[in-house]
Symmetry: C2
């Protein structure tokens, strides 16, 4: 069987599974998820054995320490996966909810009902825990899932997927609901994201390279974020201490994540007093500052920012700084150079807040808060399958609702069109 045929067969199995999954009650899906968790727990030793094989192969292949760390499944991480699955059990199932209902003059009752999307492809890198996280959210919402993890984690992922499939099957998980693409052939991703009619949505998770490759090859809808180039704009009306706290938190609390800030924009009227305080505060946290000419004239310790600094996602203790003329200029900068992810204004002026919120075209716009809250858990969604900087279907953190769509169900008593 060619790769193409193999992938089509996988797609057919997923489609059949998603039809069956869509009919399951919340209670049934929850008992399946609980069985999946229990099976991962029961197979801990086997999963760790598989992980050891991946770790050894990774060391031979010369993977970096950071990559090896992501790959590792120690006791705590397996416990984390199991807890994650049980956490999904207690979340509210959005499927079957009536979104709206209205009655037409001819008596037709029009209802918009939440239903599963169908078949979701998840393409990710080397973290094996994504295998359990992503599958659990898809099953909870009645979607079949096709998983394609990084090749470095192939044995770990296979062991986790087998535990979920076989554990879930004990409680009636339809065959084909959770499938893992195991071939090393890189063309499998292209095949996967071109299966119109078999795959309803692809969600790539990982570095920008992976996501661009998926987006360029895809024929099915993709929800993604390339990167997080997030900003804090400090208005002339800002409470300076609040601004410093927010900037420090948004930059330093976890610099390697997409909702950490990479840029600070400061209103020219307060730059002379604010920038030296900010430089001092961030120097204590070992943040490298890269300023435009106006910033460096005030705080000469800053390195020089070049054009590429405005678009770069450092994911590190580096921050680019620019002085701007007003809120409008800040919003224009963010719309031009940002990534539509998360951007904040610190301001006491309501007019400035309102203008910023209206003008900035990002998934999440903050007033007087750290951008680090862009996260399904922090939003109260209970779980997150990813963050979208696209504009269609889902924007910002994606929880269970974002893994559903709707259909119109229309009740009549013989109505025909005149």
């Amino acid at each position: 069987m060619s790769l193409h045929e193999e992938m089509l067969a996988m797609g057919d199995k997923a489609v059949a599974a998603c039809r069956a999954l869509a009919q399951l009650s919340s209670r049934r899906k929850n008992s399946i998820l609980e069985a999946m968790a229990a099976e991962i727990e029961a197979r801990r030793a086997g999963i760790q054995e598989a992980n050891t094989r991946d770790m050894e192969a990774g060391r031979v292949a010369g993977l970096s320490g950071a990559l090896l760390d992501r790959l590792l499944l120690n006791d705590a991480r397996i416990e984390g996966m199991v807890k994650g699955l049980r956490n999904v059990v207690v979340l509210k199932d959005p499927v079957g909810t009536r979104i709206s209902r209205w009655i037409r003059p001819n008596g037709l009752v029009i209802q918009k009902i939440r239903v599963p999307i169908g078949v979701i492809a998840i393409i990710y890198e080397s973290r094996p825990n994504v295998t359990a996280d992503a599958a659990s959210l898809c099953i909870k919402t009645g979607n079949a899932v096709i998983l394609r993890g990084g090749k470095e984690a192939v044995h770990s992922n296979a062991a986790i997927a087998a535990a979920m499939q076989e554990g879930g099957a004990k409680k009636g998980l339809p065959a084909g609901s959770i499938q893992l693409v195991q071939t090393a052939d890189r063309d499998a991703v292209r095949e996967l994201v071109q299966m119109e009619g078999r795959v309803d949505l692809a969600i790539p998770r990982g570095g920008e390279g992976l996501i661009r490759a998926v987006a360029e090859q895809a024929r099915v809808p993709v929800i993604k974020h390339y990167k997080g180039v997030c900003h804090v704009y400090v208005d002339e009306s800002a409470d300076a201490e609040m601004a410093l706290n927010i900037i420090e938190n948004a930059k330093c609390q976890r610099p390697g994540v997409c909702n950490a800030i990479e840029k600070v924009l400061v209103h020219e009227k307060i730059a002379a007093t604010f920038l030296p305080r900010m430089a001092e505060r961030l120097a204590a946290r070992k943040v490298e500052l890269r300023g435009d000419a106006a910033s460096r004239a005030i705080a000469p310790s800053m390195k020089e920012a070049v054009e590429s600094d405005w678009t770069e996602e450092y994911l590190d203790l580096i921050l680019a700084v620019r002085v701007v003329a007003n809120v409008k200029a800040a919003a224009d900068h963010i719309n031009r150079y940002g990534s539509r992810h998360s951007d904040a204004i610190v301001a006491q002026s309501e007019a400035a807040q309102k203008l910023f919120v209206q003008e900035v075209d990002s998934a999440t716009v903050y007033v007087n808060a750290s951008t680090r809250f862009t996260d399904g858990g922090e939003f109260g969604m209970g779980a997150e399958i990813g963050i979208s900087t696209d504009k269609l279907h889902a924007r910002g953190p994606m929880g269970l609702e974002e893994l559903t769509t709707y259909k119109y169900v229309i009740l009549g008593n013989g109505q025909v069109r005149e």
Copy 2:
């Protein structure tokens, strides 16, 4: 300037326009729409002159009578465009609506606010009235629009677009809000739907060939429907007279549209009595019936249906007929061969209704009503930019709300993440 550069420049203008459009009040947008309508009215003679050039070129090129009819802009059709624009004025503007709001334990106020999508590309065929319809819905929802109509209508479209641009400008329509791609170069469509970052959504409207071409070339999100292969399933519990009325209406009231039915599925227990009545009723309407073996055994006047009959969209007075074992078999047939558009069950049994509604994976599922109601106007949306058989973002008829997305606006008072 190359075509590529030309299209990018158009994209840049649209992006600048959409930023300005997003800031306009509903009142301002309405006065712009009214000015657009008035200008079309004022320029009726000029628009008809342009249309005459298209009609003459069309006759020389040997266009069919049907195509020439679509192309024609007589007085009534221009009046229809003007009325259509004024109809959009009175619709409720969804932009700025708060979809939801909740407060987190740390005091963050999370709000989901409806906003314009940004830049929308509409690719369509020879009907020049689409130029006005599509532009008005985009402007009402604060989106910039790039229009690419059929080459047969190039002069008509240019005249209509100029009237809208110049009329709108009198009331503050930002430059670049409505742009028309006028080059004859077919590559313009490819360029248009690959402008990630400049075009947020592409909506192709027309025949299956056009839509497939757009979907295959696109890198930006596309919302579309390839075709409408719609079904009526007549359950054993059906009121036969109601079923006949619905079938006759859904097939004959306007056979050339996507929500007309192409197939009837009949429960085996009632086939022997129902099919002869149906054959008689539809013979009077000159409908050609193509049946499977079981249907033809009962009603031998039917032609023989072949495999391709189950997927074909006739758009004509032809109907394929199949006898099925039960509701489940009907749903399986529809999910396998249908186009996820509009499908109906005629049944008195609530159990049968419920099963059908649950199992059929279509944008619009009807109980005891004609599929011909799948239409923005019939749904009470007031207007329609198209119908989606995709599952992401919008399903079924797309009105004004479906031309918007949302952003999260989060209000804090200095919150940082622990």
